[in-house]
């Protein structure tokens, strides 16, 4: 049952109890009424309307707005009808209105279905009828007005928050279910597919020849599948934070090792994207220039005020003086593009390379 439905049922119960109270008042006071028969008729109308409202709200149909307006109208009408039933002497003496506390049910229904403003508006309408019936604002009516406005406005405010909380709980449990399913799949894949792929890679390499190529394919599949089931689903914490760790783990392959701390490394999304783009360029630089056998290692270190990402390869490397001067070479362009991206987000880059000793790009960004 939704929060709104539960509260609507509470309003139904209140409506029934206050109807009984109104009936008791009529039974006790009818011999003092100016027109007792009209009193009984109006009590019958209240009973009938209580049934209609209870049934109507339970269906939660699109016609609820109409029902709310009618509900407030009936309540206000009952208050004004007191003028026709009671003697003016008794009204001046402070006798209760004919429906008494029953009118608050319509205000609460507006709070439940139309929020704080709808609730407050209904409160104002019923209060106006109350004041009109009494002909003046007495201490008694003033109390009633305050209570009605409280029930409508504050009640609606609380309902709105409860409904929002209900939605976020439902959202959270959907997410938990999705994560659970993901973990189950990851376990399954880990238990079967990954084991078999690893075994094929292992045996295939020993046999060599064309089987060796199959082995490399299996190894590549194994590591990308492993990266897929290992990396956490992309988290989008409302603050726009992104987990650099899981994004980098996804870059792992047979030739690229990714070493990270055990916990997520949260960065602002824009910063995370800049780092990923820079790392991507460093890796494609390895692909293009470091030689076909080159391997690469990515290391992520997270300190309190900064995150350091290094991308090292064991490829051919370049001499330091050429790194400085030879603008014509493609990889220098890449190096500059990496530096440019990281400088733009307030970080620093050092590139260290020696012929025959590979290249290391170290990216440092504040967090």
């Amino acid at each position: 049952m939704t929060v709104r439905r539960a509260l609507s049922r509470a309003v139904d119960a209140y409506r029934l109890l206050t109807l009984v109270y109104a009936a008791i008042l009529v039974i006790a006071d009818h011999h003092q009424y100016g027109r007792p028969r009209l009193g009984w008729v109006l009590l019958g109308v209240m009973g009938a309307w209580s049934g209609v409202a209870t049934f109507g709200y339970a269906r939660m149909s699109r016609r609820i707005p109409v029902l709310l307006v009618a509900d407030v109208g009936v309540a206000a009408g009952m208050v004004l009808a007191t003028l026709a039933v009671q003697t003016s002497a008794r009204i001046d003496a402070g006798a209760p209105t004919l429906p008494a506390a029953w009118v608050a049910a319509s205000v609460m229904a507006c709070a439940v279905f139309a929020g704080p403003w709808g609730g407050a508006l209904a409160g104002v309408a019923v209060s106006a009828a109350d004041i009109a019936e009494r002909g003046a604002v007495t201490a008694h009516t003033f109390n009633g007005v305050v209570l009605l406005l409280l029930a409508g406005g504050l009640g609606g405010y609380l309902v709105r928050h409860a409904v929002a909380a209900e939605a976020s709980v439902a959202d959270a449990s959907r997410k938990i279910a999705a994560v659970g399913e993901r973990e189950r799949l990851a376990r399954e894949i880990h238990d079967s597919t990954l084991q078999v792929l690893a075994l094929i890679a292992r045996r295939g390499r020993e046999i060599a020849g064309p089987t060796g190529e199959l082995a490399e394919l299996a190894a590549a599949q194994e590591s990308s599948l492993r990266a897929l089931v290992t990396s956490d689903p992309p988290t989008s914490g409302g603050s726009g934070a992104a987990d650099l760790r899981s994004r980098l783990i996804a870059l792992g392959s047979a030739r690229v090792s990714v070493a990270t701390p055990a916990d997520p490394v949260e960065l602002p999304a824009a910063l995370c994207e800049a780092v990923l783009a820079a790392v991507g360029e460093a890796l494609s630089n390895v692909d293009r220039h470091a030689g076909p056998e080159a391997r690469a290692w990515i290391l992520v270190e997270s300190a309190e005020g900064a995150v350091t990402i290094s991308v090292r390869d064991d490829g051919s490397g370049i001499a330091a003086d050429r790194l400085e001067t030879a603008n014509g070479e493609g990889r220098i362009g890449v190096a500059q593009s990496i530096v440019g991206r990281i400088h733009a987000v307030g970080g620093t880059v050092t590139i260290d390379s020696q012929p025959g000793r590979g290249t290391e790009v170290e990216i440092n960004v504040p967090r």
């Binding site: 238990d191 690893a198 890679a201 190894a219 492993r226 070493a259 990270t260 701390p261």
Partner: protein, 226 residues
């Protein structure tokens, strides 16, 4: 010189136990190890069996998967720590179980290798583990760097920390440098590099033991005061 410090005779095979719940994989690893001249004294597929078989067969090295049907390889590592002599533990696992890897290391494992490693790497790692050397992947080095960094922010003076040299070496391991490459780069002996790496593990294990003792004492004191 006590008995277990006696240099192992060249022809005395290292006794290995393989713990993995996947039979095809486990048997393949066991065959590879046998083929390289090691003695596989037992295999197990879950935590309870691993502890039983290890107690009965006293392996020198346990090649341990962390992912087991009735628990984690970490439980195996913890329970084997009470055996005397304590078997050396080499974790051979998927790279996915990162917090588990740290727990296994804290519980006494001295090596970590991912399953995609070649047979030659695995055999070399088993030999190194048997000799008491720490077997590191870049991934394990990064996990340790992260763990020490996490511990250092706690502000507790009793927590272990790395020396500048240890941090430097661990970072190089994490970037894929081999021990000989690190030795050459830092102009140190290979032995010194190995010792530094070993120390980073030992400090964490001692810290873990001290915490367990402290926990046990607190529990004990609580029990008495009840």
């Amino acid at each position: 010189m006590s008995l277990d410090e006696t240099p192992r005779a060249a022809d005395e095979a290292i006794r290995v136990m393989v713990v993995d719940d996947h039979p095809i994989w486990r048997d393949a690893v066991a065959r590879d190890l046998e083929a390289s001249g090691l003695t596989v004294c037992g295999v197990a597929s879950d935590v309870a069996q691993a502890v039983r078989v290890a107690t009965a067969t006293r392996p020198d090295v346990v090649v341990l998967d962390l992912h087991l049907p009735d628990g984690s390889g970490v439980d195996v590592a913890r329970q084997l720590a009470s055996l005397d002599p304590t078997p050396k533990i080499l974790v051979l696992s998927a790279s996915g179980e990162q917090p588990d890897v740290l727990d296994a290391v804290a519980a006494g494992a001295t090596g970590y290798l991912v399953k995609s490693a070649s047979t030659a790497d695995l055999v070399a790692a088993v030999h190194a583990t048997a000799r008491g050397e720490a077997v590191f992947t870049p991934g394990l080095a990064a996990l340790l760097l992260g763990e020490y960094s996490r511990l250092s922010t706690g502000g507790d003076p009793a927590t272990p920390s790395l020396t500048a040299r240890e941090t430097e070496i661990l970072r190089l391991v994490a970037k894929g440098y081999t021990y000989p490459q690190i030795a050459e780069r830092l102009v140190l002996s290979l032995r010194t590099v190995q010792n530094h790496v070993q120390n980073t593990l030992t400090k964490l294990q001692l810290h873990n033991k001290a915490q367990l003792v402290r926990y046990a004492l607190e529990q004990g004191l609580d029990a008495e005061s009840d």
